[in-house]
């Protein structure tokens, strides 16, 4: 009977320790905003504009503008044309624009790209796992990555249309000037 009592106590203690461990793990693994100067969280996601995948690592050596968006997001519609125009303007400087489509239906996203004439590479983050690593709670949001794959400049929260100066500074920071 005593053995049974001790076993019960050990099981109860183990259960409490396990739950405490889970709590600590959850608290220490909360998503944190990526810091300026830190490596941009990497990803390899399916492309929406064509077949295959695109990884951030494959763009190493090029300045990158990462725009998180969704077809159901109204402000995203407002900034799509400006981003497309900017992608053309900075193409000669080697800047690559990449769209990361968040929690979206593929067919809706493709229609959006067509309707707004978006031609730069776009990937689908359907589960939101990559967007979570950038700690993006809502779209649109735009990040800037320099040639060494580090986050630079201040990322634009909300539409770039209302924050043109911040957007321009971000691109310049990615270019390293």
């Amino acid at each position: 009977m005593r053995t049974l009592k001790v076993t019960g106590q050990v099981v109860a203690l183990a259960a409490v320790a396990g739950l405490l461990g889970l709590l600590v793990w959850r608290l220490t693994h909360q998503p944190k905003s990526p810091k300026i100067g830190a490596p941009a969280p990497g990803f390899s996601l399916r492309r929406l504009d064509t077949t295959g995948t695109l990884s951030l690592a494959s763009l190493r050596g090029k300045p990158v503008v990462l725009n998180f968006w969704a077809s159901w997001c109204v402000p995203c519609k407002g900034e799509a044309k400006m981003l497309e125009a900017a992608s053309h303007r900075y193409r000669s400087s080697g800047v690559v624009f990449v769209g990361v489509d968040w929690h979206d239906v593929k067919s809706d996203a493709r229609r959006f790209l067509e309707a707004h004439g978006v031609t730069y590479p776009t990937v689908l983050d359907g589960s939101g796992s990559v967007t979570d690593r950038y700690n993006v709670p809502a779209v649109p949001e735009t990040f800037f990555v320099d040639r060494s794959g580090r986050l630079v400049g201040e990322h634009v929260v909300g539409t770039v249309v209302n924050q043109k100066e911040k957007f321009r500074s971000g691109v310049q920071a990615a270019l390293g000037s």
């Binding site: 049974l4 159901w72 929690h103 359907g126 589960s127």
Partner: protein
């Protein structure tokens, strides 16, 4: 006259198109699926959300229902698009089976522990009741008293 006739024909075709595309005997309904699919941006099921993302997913589900897709096919499409997290309940295979069996195991273990506790408690209570039993003299006097009252 010809222009008017052409306009009527065009309108009729435009209306007939979606009607013809709709499934005559749908395998499921939006109402049946709304509680089984999560809204990825608000972390509730679709029936509890009016967010833009939820509305688009509902639209997609309705579109697939109209194409005569089964519930399993629609769920597979959604998992392919959004990942397994889009399902309100985890799949009943592989590692996800744990999510189904762990609660059942917990309930069974709890019931066993409860039964064990009750059994032990009843065993401990036994001698206490014996200790509270009246001594033979008192018991005899009590019986006589009760007999007199009768």
């Amino acid at each position: 006259m010809i222009v008017r006739l052409a306009a009527i024909c065009t309108a009729a075709l435009a209306l007939a198109g979606p009607a013809a595309a709709a499934c005559a005997k749908p395998h499921t309904s939006l109402a049946a699926m709304e509680g089984k699919i999560m809204c990825p941006t608000c972390h509730t099921t679709l029936d509890q959300s009016d967010s833009a993302a939820a509305l688009r997913i509902e639209h997609f589900i309705q579109l697939r229902i109209d194409q005569c897709a089964t519930e399993a096919q629609i769920e597979a499409d959604l998992v392919d698009n959004f990942g397994a997290g889009i399902l309100a309940a985890p799949p009943r295979k592989g590692f996800d089976l744990l999510a189904w069996w762990l609660p059942i195991g917990g309930i069974v273990l709890g019931a066993l522990l409860l039964a064990l506790g009750v059994w032990r408690w009843s065993r401990v209570r036994g001698p206490d009741e014996a200790a509270e039993r009246l001594d033979p003299d008192t018991e005899q006097r009590l019986d006589e008293l009760l007999a007199r009252l009768d």
